[in-house]
C-alpha cells in the first residue's frame, strides 16, 4: 500500500472536521476516494457515480498535477507520497 496525500475540496472539509487534507493508504485513485468514507460515510457517493465507474461530472481529480483521465482514470495506480487533488468548482468573485 502506498501512503498518499489527499487535498480535500472546500465542501468536504466540514465533513472532515475542518481538515484541508488527509493522508491514507491506497493503491489506486478509487481506493483512495473510498477510504474517505472512513471520515464520513457520505463522501465517496458525492464524488463517484453510483456504480463507482466514473467521477461525477462536476468533480475533477488530479494526481501529482495530472488529470486522471490521462493516467488511467479511477484505476490510476498511486505511488508512495502521491498527491491527490480533488477539485470542485466555486464561483465566488
Amino acid at each position: 500500500m502506498s501512503v498518499v496525500h489527499i487535498n480535500l475540496p472546500v465542501p468536504l472539509r466540514k465533513l472532515a472536521k475542518g481538515a484541508t487534507s488527509i493522508e491514507c493508504q491506497a493503491n489506486t485513485v478509487l481506493d483512495a476516494l473510498l477510504k474517505l468514507d472512513e471520515i464520513d460515510a457520505s463522501i465517496s457517493a458525492r464524488l463517484l457515480e453510483d456504480d463507482r465507474s466514473a467521477l461525477k461530472r462536476y468533480i475533477n481529480v488530479y494526481v501529482d498535477g495530472k488529470h486522471i483521465s490521462k493516467t488511467g482514470g479511477l484505476q490510476t495506480t498511486l505511488a508512495n507520497s502521491s498527491k491527490l487533488e480533488i477539485v470542485t468548482a466555486f464561483a465566488g468573485g
Partner: protein, 384 residues
C-alpha cells in the same frame, strides 16, 4: 562644400521620382515608401502607404523596415530636399535602388494622393506610459493597441475591482462593467475600487468615478444589469475580451457559453476563503472551455453556500491581478497564457499549482460554436 552646393550635387547624383509614380512603384516593384520627416511633422498626416522613420533614426533602424539592400526605396520628406540627404545615407549603407520623391509630401498632397493620420501617443501619454514604452514587448505599438482595446468586466466586486483599476492605469482604452448591485459596507473589505463615500450607490457609478480619478482618458461603459440568457450576447459582442469576476454559477456558465459562441476570450477567476483559480478560456477551436472542466454544476452539497461565502480580503487582489496580467498579454499577443491550464492558488499554504484542462470532445465548444444557443442556466439560488 556649402549646404546649397551639396544639394545641387545630390540632385544630380540621386534619382528623383514624381509623387504620382510612387504608387506604381509600390505596386509593381515591391518598393517601400519611407517618410523621413520628424514625428511632429507627420502628426498632420503622411502618405497612406508610407512607413514613418524620422531622418535622425534612419541609419540605425532602416534594416527593421528593409532587410534586402536591392529592394527599391522611395524616400520622402516635406519638400524633396531632406530626402536627398536621407537617400544618400541609404546608398552609403549599401542600398542599391534608392529614390527621392520630388516635391515631397507637399507635392503628394497637391496631387490628391491618399494620406492617413498616424496613430501616435501624445506627449503626455508618452510620459504617462513611459515604463511601458521601455519594455520591448509593449512599446508604442503595444500601448496604442491597449488604448484601442475594449474589455468587459463581469462584476465590479472583489475580482473586478483590482482588474479595473490596473487595466485603467495600464491604459486599456475602453472598459465595460456589468454589475447591477449597489455598494454595501460588507464589500469594502476587498472591493477596493469602492469607498465609504460610495455606500448605497451603483457599483458601476462608483467604479467609473474611481477609474476616472486614476485615468480620465478611459472610456467607461456602464451596464447596471444582471447578466441573463436574453442579454448575454448583446452585452458581450462589442468587446475584445471578457474578464469573468462574477459571483454565481449562473453567470459563470452564461458567460462561458456566450464567449465560446462569439469567439471572445474569457479570463476566468474564482475565489473562496484562501483559494483561487485563474485561467483563460481562449474560445478558439483548440481551446477548452469552462464546460470542458465542469460539464455540470455541482449540487448544493458540493458547492459552498452563501452562509459559507467568506473570503480573505486580499485574495481577490492576488487572483484579480493574475487575471489582469492575462488580459494585457492576450491584448498584446505576447507571452504564454493560461489556455488549457488552471492556476490554483492556495494562499494559506503558499501553494501554486497548475492543473491541466483538456478540451472535451462532447462539449458544446467542440461543435459548431456559432450555432450555440444561449439557454437559461438552472442554478440553485445560493451558491458561490
Amino acid at each position: 562644400m556649402s549646404y546649397e552646393q551639396r544639394a545641387v550635387h545630390l540632385r544630380a547624383a540621386i534619382p528623383e521620382i514624381p509623387a504620382e509614380q510612387v504608387l506604381d512603384m509600390l505596386r509593381h516593384d515591391d518598393a517601400v515608401l519611407i517618410d523621413v520627416r520628424d514625428a511632429e511633422e507627420v502628426k498632420g498626416g503622411l502618405p497612406e502607404p508610407a512607413q514613418h522613420l524620422a531622418r535622425g533614426q534612419l541609419e540605425l533602424n532602416i534594416h527593421h523596415l528593409v532587410d534586402d539592400v536591392h529592394r527599391p526605396i522611395a524616400v520622402m520628406c516635406a519638400s524633396g530636399l531632406r530626402s536627398l540627404f536621407a537617400a544618400e545615407s541609404l546608398i552609403n549603407l549599401g542600398y542599391t535602388k534608392v529614390f527621392s520623391v520630388r516635391g515631397g509630401f507637399k507635392q503628394w498632397k497637391d496631387a490628391g494622393l491618399p494620406t492617413r493620420v498616424p496613430q501616435q501617443l501624445s506627449v503626455f501619454d508618452r510620459e504617462r506610459y513611459s515604463r511601458h514604452l521601455l519594455i520591448p514587448e509593449v512599446g508604442e505599438k503595444g500601448q496604442l493597441r491597449l488604448k484601442s482595446s475594449r474589455v468587459l468586466l463581469l462584476g465590479a466586486g472583489g475580482l473586478g475591482s483590482p482588474v479595473a483599476l490596473y487595466l485603467a492605469a495600464a491604459g486599456v482604452g475602453t472598459l465595460g462593467i456589468v454589475d447591477p448591485d449597489v455598494v454595501e459596507s460588507s464589500n469594502l473589505q476587498r472591493q477596493v475600487i469602492h469607498g465609504e463615500d460610495q455606500l448605497g450607490k451603483l457599483k458601476v457609478d462608483s467604479a467609473e468615478a474611481a477609474i476616472h480619478r486614476l485615468n480620465s482618458q478611459i472610456k467607461v461603459i456602464k451596464h447596471p444589469v444582471l447578466l441573463d440568457e436574453s442579454n448575454a450576447l448583446s452585452l458581450l459582442q462589442d468587446y475584445d475580451l471578457v474578464v469573468d469576476g462574477s459571483d454565481n454559477f449562473k453567470a459563470r456558465y452564461l458567460v462561458n457559453d456566450a464567449c465560446v459562441k462569439l469567439g471572445i476570450p474569457n479570463v476566468h477567476g474564482a475565489i473562496y476563503r484562501f483559494e483561487g483559480y485563474v485561467t483563460t478560456f481562449a474560445a478558439s477551436d483548440e481551446a477548452p472551455c469552462y464546460r470542458c472542466m465542469y460539464p455540470e454544476l455541482p449540487p448544493p452539497e458540493m458547492a459552498p453556500s452563501c452562509a459559507e461565502a467568506g473570503v480573505l480580503g486580499v485574495l481577490p487582489g492576488v487572483i484579480g491581478l493574475l487575471q489582469a496580467v492575462e488580459v494585457i498579454k492576450l491584448l498584446l499577443g505576447i507571452g504564454r497564457n493560461l489556455s488549457g491550464k488552471m492556476l490554483r492558488v492556495d494562499a494559506l499554504n503558499n501553494e501554486f499549482s497548475m492543473l491541466d484542462i483538456d478540451k472535451a470532445e462532447q462539449c458544446l465548444c467542440s461543435h459548431h460554436r456559432d450555432e450555440i444557443q444561449i439557454k437559461p442556466i438552472e442554478a440553485f439560488a445560493c451558491a458561490i
